[in-house]
Symmetry: D2
Subunit: 362 residues, 4 copies
């Protein structure tokens, strides 16, 4: 249905100097009285091995509806350093102005980049990145810790460093015991690491999910197909660096990777309940119709679990983002039991690789 309008008088047009500016808000409910901030704590620019100028990361974040990012250049790996000069915190400095005018919270950070063990770690909330540039990795961690950094283990299941299994090494015990590890990436890029989730749950570490983007992000994420970057939802008492830090310290995060949501059960449960709005429950003699709307940008994949066999309802049910549905549950006219349907929300991972069980009575 495309048409070309006559080109007579199609005057000389201007260069696109101003640039369209559109921010796509991510719809995720606030939980537990906290604000749900969308954060990505791991990415690169030309100041390490990324392929974009630092301000691009701010623009990308703004367009995608993020609240906070950290440019975490590799301390030990700067392949362009003959050309791109500056100290380890330089990309932060360059991006600072753009972040201010875009209202993106910018967190100073660096990536300690070692072979396994211990592998790669991000230290964020730094004051001085250069202090981490040490021969011995112990000294890098000490320097980060001395600045009060929040430190997490990156992509623990990366096959370049863990070719067969996602292992916890002695060095990780040492780091953990020294208080040098506050979290682990349970997701990086498009990958989810169930072992990392288990360790977080066992050891009281914060679950983190990041893009680790090196390319211009549109190359890695096909937004027009509904894809999104991996990110961490941080449940913060205020939209500020301080608010984020306090939430990270207290493990109030949910990780969004592909269609999966990874986190502690109490947050996932509330996330589900706050996202799904039950609009109407129409009860009849032999069936009940439940109309609901998913107010969030998250999908939910439901699968029936053990239940009263007299109740008949879906075996699997997909609730797409921002869509409305009517579900039917049918039963015999003389049904006297509790009207309760049970299902698993397969993509709410409260345990490693395991969906969250849920029950709904009406």
């Amino acid at each position: 249905m495309r048409k070309l309008y006559s080109i007579l008088f199609a005057a000389t047009l201007t260069l696109l100097s101003a640039g369209a500016q559109v921010r796509n808000e991510i719809h995720v409910p606030d939980l537990g009285g906290y604000q749900t901030l969308k954060c990505d704590f791991h990415m690169h620019t030309v100041y390490s091995d990324g392929l974009v100028w630092p301000t691009v990361r701010v623009d990308e974040a703004w367009r995608e509806g993020l609240d906070a990012i950290s440019l975490t250049e590799h301390i030990e790996y700067r392949p362009f350093k003959e050309d791109v000069k500056g100290h380890h915190g330089r990309s932060y400095e360059i991006a600072e102005g753009a972040a201010g005018s875009r209202d993106i919270l910018l967190i100073r950070g660096s990536e300690i980049t070692r072979s396994m063990a211990p592998g790669h770690f991000n230290a964020i909330f730094l004051e001085n990145c250069d202090a981490l540039d040490k021969e011995d990795w112990h000294d890098s961690f000490k320097a980060a810790k001395a600045q009060g950094a929040f430190i997490f283990w990156n992509h623990p299941g990366w096959d370049a460093q863990q070719p067969d299994t996602t292992l916890w090494w002695d060095e990780h015990t040492e780091i953990y015991d020294n208080g040098w590890m506050q979290g682990i990436e349970v997701a990086n890029g498009g990958s989810y690491y169930p072992e990392a989730q288990r360790w977080c749950l066992e050891k009281g570490l914060t679950m983190i999910g990041n893009s680790d983007v090196h390319n211009p992000i549109n190359l890695d994420v096909e937004f027009h197909k509904g894809e999104h970057r991996v990110m961490t939802f941080v449940l913060a008492s205020e939209r500020s660096l301080k608010g984020i830090r306090e939430a990270l310290d207290n493990r109030r995060t949910i990780v969004w990777v592909n269609d999966l949501l990874v986190g502690e059960e109490k947050w996932l449960k509330e996330l589900f309940e706050q996202s799904i709005n039950v609009l109407e429950v129409k009860k009849g003699k032999t069936s009940c119709q439940i109309t609901l709307r998913n107010e969030s940008d998250l999908p939910f994949f439901l699968q029936k679990t053990e239940h009263d066999k007299a109740l008949k309802y879906f075996r699997e049910f997909t609730i797409e983002p921002r869509c409305q549905y009517t579900l039917t549950v049918s039963y015999p006219e003389d049904f006297r039991g509790e009207k309760r349907i049970n299902f698993r929300v397969k993509n709410l991972l409260a345990r490693p690789n395991q969906g969250m069980d849920y029950s709904y009575s009406f």
Copy 2:
């Protein structure tokens, strides 16, 4: 970044019986104290030569954010009539229930389908479609008029009936003089008819724009590319059949076809002003920065016109839907004149094929 999750336990999935339901609201401001209703008064189903069941038209309208539609089957052309039985208003009856539950206003209508002259006309707000099934077209118009119908000429520039120029025939004079014509389609499908706009302005007729869709609409309109169906914005005092009728009778319409908006100047002017939100005007000694946001789903294409040459600003400027921009106007430090930029909004057609001139002072 796509990943496949392990398919062990990928249980048998349900048929999509419920169906995702998502309505895309169209963002257009209300104008003049009226509600801006989005309407399409011309479409077909299997009850004439369309290719879908009547309820499909309601579902399409709902998904696209429309408020009102009319199923206007051809009275004289029903190629499937050996198979698809029923009187001329049957598709209305079939769609009525769906329209009710979707809250789509359904207007009973028919298309009087004659060779040129007079060509095709839609009569809407009918009570009895069968009454229009007459040998002589005069009788069809009379029957429509007798029911108080609102009647408009369809696609006056259709090349199958007007192979070289869009002409007004004697028959149209007769119809007009008899009060059998209240409007004309200034746009149909993807086509805009400037002559029709001229006639509407000269003769006090209502400007109408419709899809005339026959196919499933997704075949004709590529929504994922940002396309939309042709429609009429009706400025109604209430969201009801009555409200629409009163607005049509009083010519309060704007037609949206491709990137063009066609209507009377006062509405287009208010449409522009209500759509563009000036967020900040930052005045300096030698330049002024104007930050604006387009709150609507409509684009605006600006082109500089005659102006004080001491003021320097864009030659052409495109304001995309729902985007934010900062414009700069510069001037000499000793500039003492009125700070006024002049431009034409090329896609606001207050006159046939002619953009609307606009002036902005700061």
Copy 3:
């Protein structure tokens, strides 16, 4: 970067009478010396409970690159029958002309539509659909069989009929023993039924996958996101009804549902090998670089399995459709073993819910 060209002289445009015609070929290799035909043997029109005119199904099939379809209206369920008249094979007759000019192979079929057991069955390659309109379902099957139909069980895991588990009923044994069942849908709509695959393997039945589309298909399948309808790849000795029938009778099919390919191992193995083109194998002292291109429209999801631990390579690897990759396998300089990488192709389901194991030596 959108621009509007001046609209002066934007003459009256024509109705889109001709219509754009573009066919998207599906790239899947031919296998075993057979042609790979893309088929969908299950869909509906207004002649049962579908929402489109029969010719629409032909147009959809053509645009999507299909070779053959069957309009399988419900014999026992025609909700629009007061309006849409005609015998049970009428939609076939209506679509026949369009199929001829589009070169789509049209197979006469019907859906026997009973409550469970036995549920729904499609009989295709019929001569007379009306003969299946019987009170007792046994008589319907007999009538289909008498015409030499190919009969398959539809959506055996549909929760409306199998609310908790996908069960094989006594009636299915009876049907099977009578020779009234030649295949089963292992996929329908977006759903995959692993039990059905198991039954096909155990009982020598043909695996079928169909869309069962009722809506205009663009509503159910988001083509611009890379989605496709569920279909059956039929490995036929010729592109004809006869060729398809012979292939179905001899179980030469692969079912494509979402990102899964379901079929017998020999076909899946050849499908993988014919799709992946190894362009170059560059062997070094401590590593080997394998460059490959996926020539097909199918993705492949690889996951490392048991292997010589001295060889280091990916843990998971996604091969997107029509993309090129370079894989690296590294090993110690003194490695003397066989250079063989093992992995599972997770979405090639040769067994229910189980990926196909594969080995590659270099």
Copy 4:
């Protein structure tokens, strides 16, 4: 129709180290016995005011199906020079390896960046970019000329430098007379400059069209909507730097900007004829049906012009890329004249702002 497959055993996934590689070929016919190369001679990286690393430009070009590019950093404007060090040809050096392995022809170039007059010029086919770094712009041009560069004027209608009209200044006469200007950008970014086209035709200069991209290109061009970057089709005797240079010197170019094609009539005519494949001409007594297919990725917008009124055919007709159509021309049974339809191809601009007239007999 999206489904989530069970996530039990969803093993830890690998980082996307290899990266999908897919090149989208641009379908444009070869013309006049020459190869049609797709070229973009104007773009920026972090070595001037662009926002990406030089290799990104090669990757973008490869994915988009280009044959040749030039990284034309501003000589006089390097806002990141405190951070990004290196001589004026450094981005070429960095990109060279990537260009080699991608088989992208990389042309050494620079942008002479002066205020108006003379404004901005690109010099390509340089040997030493640093030699252009001079105080006086005359010396920059001389240095480029001394190296045998091909020099063209950039964005002559840029409103920052030509606020009201696209003017030719005395300086341009001087440059032209000195042999320092071989071409002009008739298009830059999304803008077309009709005056530039006129000057090219009058003065025997080469018409050039370039992206002038600064951002990651996916931000400026929405490929999933069918958009493309502005580019120059170069009709070259061989796919080599030498071939491109010879073609530029002999003005064998066509510029593709939005839906417009700008060039000399003989090339546009052949482009149209080679793109449109007439598959069948079916002549009847009173009408003729012409079936054609557009084999190219270019649209064509036809508009009827003066013609024998006895022949009836479309008023406007849009031929979408890679689509097939059937056109009908009707005439009286006793028609004895020449069967010739006349139309303008509105988007083939052989003259400034003016479509190309065309005639087809059958």
